[in-house]
């Protein structure tokens, strides 16, 4: 029987893994970008779990910081993707082939 703490930890790891896999295999920049957010949220779940079972508030504070970081990354990432769309007319990763060697 899987304990409650391990259940939450494994869920967090699973979300993180789905995000990592999505980043590596999907070709659409927006989807890749969402995958990164998924990874960060998986980390958040792990932090909350540890924080609850260790009876320590530091982990929850971490979650707030990570949310702020994720928001900053959204602002910058979407701006860059918009820039790519303006220049190339597509957000497909295979169009990023200007440089070789």
């Amino acid at each position: 029987m899987i304990s409650q703490m391990n259940f939450f930890l494994l869920t967090g790891l699973l979300i993180f893994g789905i995000g990592a896999l999505g980043l590596l295999i999907r070709r659409n920049l927006i989807i890749c970008f969402m995958s990164i957010e998924l990874m960060l949220n998986g980390v958040n779940l792990i932090f909350v779990t540890f924080s609850h079972y260790l009876q320590s508030a530091v982990g929850v504070l971490y979650v707030l910081f990570i949310m702020a970081l994720a928001a900053a990354e959204v602002a910058i990432g979407l701006a860059i993707i918009l820039l790519i769309y303006r220049l190339k007319g597509t957000v497909d990763m295979d169009s990023l082939n200007t440089m070789k060697g």
Binding site: F16, I36, G42, V43, I46, F47, L83, L87
Partner: protein, 480 residues
């Protein structure tokens, strides 16, 4: 109230004030084009250096043990601010006309350097993450600063996706370290590890977390197997930004490696020495071999920066005082020679980016030729340059730790690297120019100043190495 030690972050506060001022000037000024952001940013960094000089020598904990300002952090602050000055000097003629709001460019450089400085003074893993993000987020934007250049936008998105990926992995590692030792404070991690973890699955999870943090740091350093982004990003980004990334971000990442792994995670560092030996060898070999076939000079220097990261990791593998102090010395020399080489490229870039385009430039522009000779000699590691002494001290540290075979591999690698560094000089001096030449449009007093500063610095490091090496050895107090 003593915990709010604003004095210890006063240089950063000055820089933040200037960055905010730049952004406001861009928004509210009626004549946005005329301001001399270049000189303002240099004075900001000079002021920060002055404040840091007043602080230097003290050891201060602050912000409820979130920060520790010690001498080595002070030295690294000098390095970062110095890099800021040289990058500001070489940027202005290059971005002229290509970036509409120059204030944003300089504000982002300043904010990125504030992030680096926070990495240098961090004493808690959360401060480290915030510093890394402040540094990286600014550089993501800087890499895409040329909005009409496809290569620049590509560099930006590639750096962003992979950088965010590495941050997520690093955060996962921090989560596991926090879960097993119950704290993220550097000194408490060591205490709690000794108190609570005695083998078993808990220690296994702790080591997994440390490995994930190491992966995140190695990504920023651009060590193999986390180097794939380096060539594309360094080639595509604006040349002055590449110079900043290749020197500043790399120096900050190496200090992150030293600080985190020798203060907080020193209980675990010996578990990773073997794999670091392997990573160091494969990093320098792959970097040098890939650089052999490059025609684009920026791309060649990108691969060479991977190789240099390999050499510096030897000092980390040695894990003794000489080796670690040598990393700091090497970083100073490495930053100077890369900034110098990129300052030359900034001027020559209007001719083109490939080796053919610089042919004949050595005699057409004797000053640039002389400067490039100094920087390339330093990159190969020929005396009397800083690059030579840096390699010498790193290898000395490795020999003291008994890694003779590692030193032999590194020396063979240096011999290979001579081919592609000196080929640049062969093209510059022994090939016929492809066009009639004439004066470069962008000859500029500020870039010349940057070239003189870096070359004098490199020769000083090469001829009087003792001066700096004694300082770095004296203050290298982080030992496993």
């Amino acid at each position: 109230m003593a915990n709010f030690d604003f004095l210890s972050i006063s240089p950063d506060l000055v820089l933040i004030a200037f960055a905010v001022l730049f952004l406001l000037m861009g928004s509210f000024s009626r004549t946005p084009g005329v301001h001399n952001y270049n000189m303002l940013s240099i004075s900001a960094f000079s002021l920060a250096i002055l404040f840091n000089l007043l602080l230097f020598g003290s050891k201060r904990f602050g912000f409820y043990d979130m920060m520790l300002y010690d001498e080595l952090a002070g030295i690294f602050r000098f390095i970062f601010y110095g890099i800021g000055i040289i990058v500001s000097l070489m940027s202005d003629p290059y971005i002229e006309g290509k970036i509409k709001h120059k204030g944003e460019y300089y504000a982002l450089i300043i904010l990125s350097i504030v992030g680096m400085s926070f990495i240098a003074t961090s004493y808690d893993l959360i401060m480290l993450v915030l510093g890394v993000e402040a540094m990286s987020l600014s550089v993501y934007i800087l890499a895409g600063m040329f909005k009409h250049d496809e290569a620049s936008a590509e560099a930006s998105i590639k750096y962003f996706l992979l950088g965010a990926f590495s941050t997520a992995i690093m955060l996962l590692g921090i989560a596991f370290v926090y879960g097993t030792v119950g704290t993220t404070n550097y000194s408490l991690i060591v205490q709690n590890y000794n108190k609570y973890l005695h083998g078993g699955i808990q220690t296994g999870i702790f080591l997994f977390g440390v490995a994930a943090i190491l992966a995140g740091v190695l990504f920023k350093i651009a060590a193999v197997p986390f180097h794939m982004w380096t060539p594309d990003v360094y080639e595509g980004a604006p040349t002055s930004v590449t110079a900043f990334m290749i020197s500043g971000v790399k120096a900050a990442s190496f200090f992150m490696l030293i600080r985190v792994f020798l203060i907080a995670l020193k209980v675990a560092v010996f578990n990773f020495v073997d794999i670091m030996v392997f990573i160091s060898i494969i990093t320098m070999t792959l970097g040098n071999i890939a650089a052999l076939t490059q025609r684009n000079i920026k791309r060649m220097l990108a691969y060479s920066s991977i190789a240099h990261a390999g050499y510096m990791l030897i000092g980390f593998v040695a894990l003794n005082k000489t080796g670690l102090a040598a990393i700091v010395f090497y970083l100073i020399a490495y930053a100077l020679m890369n900034l110098g080489a990129f300052a030359v490229l900034v001027l020559l870039e209007e001719k083109g980016k490939d080796l053919e385009h610089v042919s004949g430039c050595g005699f057409l522009y004797p000053f640039l030729g002389l400067m490039m000779t100094i920087f390339m000699f330093s990159m190969v590691g020929l005396p009397p340059t800083g690059g030579f002494m840096g390699k010498f001290y790193v290898f000395k540290g490795a020999l003291e730790a008994g890694y003779l075979w590692l030193v032999i591999i590194a020396v063979l690698n240096s011999a290979v690297s001579a081919y592609f560094y000196l080929r640049v000089l062969v093209y510059m001096f022994f090939e016929k120019p492809i066009d009639a030449g004439g004066a470069l449009r962008t000859s500029s007093a500020t870039v010349t100043t940057a070239l003189v500063l870096t070359s004098v610095g490199i020769l000083f490091l090469g001829i009087f190495p003792q001066f700096f090496f004694e300082i770095t050895t004296k203050y290298m107090t982080y030992l496993p």
